[in-house]
Assembly symmetry: C2
DNA sequence: ACCTGAACACCGTTCAAGT
DNA sequence: ACCTGAACACCGTTCAAGT
């Protein structure tokens, strides 16, 4: 009758931005981005939908805030003893795991320019890392963006079937069957590689490209 | 009174999947993905919205089709004389330009598993390229996906302000001002690199990461 | 200052009815 | 077989009204 039900039938909801963000996070995790409605968030708070507009001007502003909050607490202070390649790899993995752990997190962050404090901190750390690695300003800016784009983009593609509602296993096995069932004459590689294209842990697949990207940046640094 | 007005007030609309796809493409280019409504497409065809459901089961199925159609005609037959690095670079650039040329094209293609014929052809060509380059099946599958993810992801981030409604110049100059105006003590790199972070042609920035990725893959091939 | 009631202008989708 | 009329259950958002 106290804090557990207070959320749904509390006497004085006493809204606030953090409270709304928290409720929105729960709805996002449960229903995904398409299910993240103002009305749904209000219901989660035991409040009427119009109330939220006192604290956020639009739904989009709330999602912007969510996008920044999604990467809150990500470690940005790396031991300076670790070399830049390890730091970059570990940091990108950290971001990868965070985006993978919340439903539609990559979708929330993609397609919008996030300028919240957590994102700024994350960007600053990335740039710092590349500068310490010896890249000039332009290269550091471009390289940092490239790694970020690759990371978010990868999660976006990996989570695509989940966002659509299907389970990951079902979607992948369906895709594997589709590839394997194509005409061998016109799609020899898709048929032959139906396995590699759809198997393997997401993080392993992610790391392959990440390591290639880091190798390429390292090469650019030395030449 | 003939073909120009026929679209809006034609006597016998005589719908078909290609006709609907064409109209949807025009609406997408004009109003973006958020403005791509069944009612809007129907209006573009001079038809009632319910009519479209005879030809497509859901809006999502239509957008799936659009996603595949967006990369129709992209060259997949490369001169075998060109080395794989040049082919890969040119091909990715081609995709980059196509996705950049239609509003929200990257958004339409991201977050969904496209299995249309144009996409299959494109995938097959990518895999073939990496196999001819000497990568094994797993590496070819992973590398191909990495390059694709990077390309679509890059366009997605570049087009973010456009999708939100703002002009690209306005959004970038706003971002530049925001970076430059941060506290130097906590965000030294963002302040110092406000220029490089927001200037430069999109394609130049895209090519930096693409070339690093290709370099890294080439390195993986030789070791 | 903060929340509610009630409405507005939209959506995707369905389905009986027309032709 | 193919299209329309009319409705259903939703949206985000606004705003006068309550407290």
């Amino acid at each position: 009758m106290t804090s557990s039900t207070q959320r749904r039938r509390g006497r004085k909801p006493r809204l606030s931005q953090p409270l709304i963000v928290g409720a929105a996070m729960r709805v996002l995790a449960r229903d995904g981005l398409d299910g993240l409605t103002i009305r749904g968030i209000a219901a989660e708070l035991g409040v009427k939908s119009a109330s939220l507009y006192w604290h956020f001007p639009t739904r989009d502003a709330l999602v912007d805030r969510l996008a920044d909050e999604l990467i809150a607490g990500l470690p940005t202070e790396r031991a300076t003893t670790a070399d830049w390649r390890t730091s970059l790899r570990d940091g990108s993995c950290e971001l990868f795991r965070r985006l993978t752990s919340v439903r539609d997190a990559a979708r929330v962050r993609s397609g919008r320019l996030v300028t919240g404090p957590n994102t700024l901190r994350w960007m600053e750390a990335g740039l710092d890392l590349f500068r310490r690695a010896g890249l000039n300003e332009v290269a550091a800016a471009y390289a940092s963006h490239a790694v970020h784009v690759y990371t978010v983009g990868f999660v976006l593609f990996t989570a695509a079937p989940l966002s659509a509602g299907a389970s990951r296993e079902a979607a992948l096995s369906a895709a594997r069957g589709a590839f394997a069932g194509l005409e061998r004459a016109t799609y020899p590689n898709l048929v032959a590689m139906a396995g590699p294209l759809t198997e393997g842990a997401p993080e392993t697949r992610f790391l392959y490209g990440l390591d290639r990207l880091i190798d390429g940046i390292a090469l650019d640094r030395t030449t």
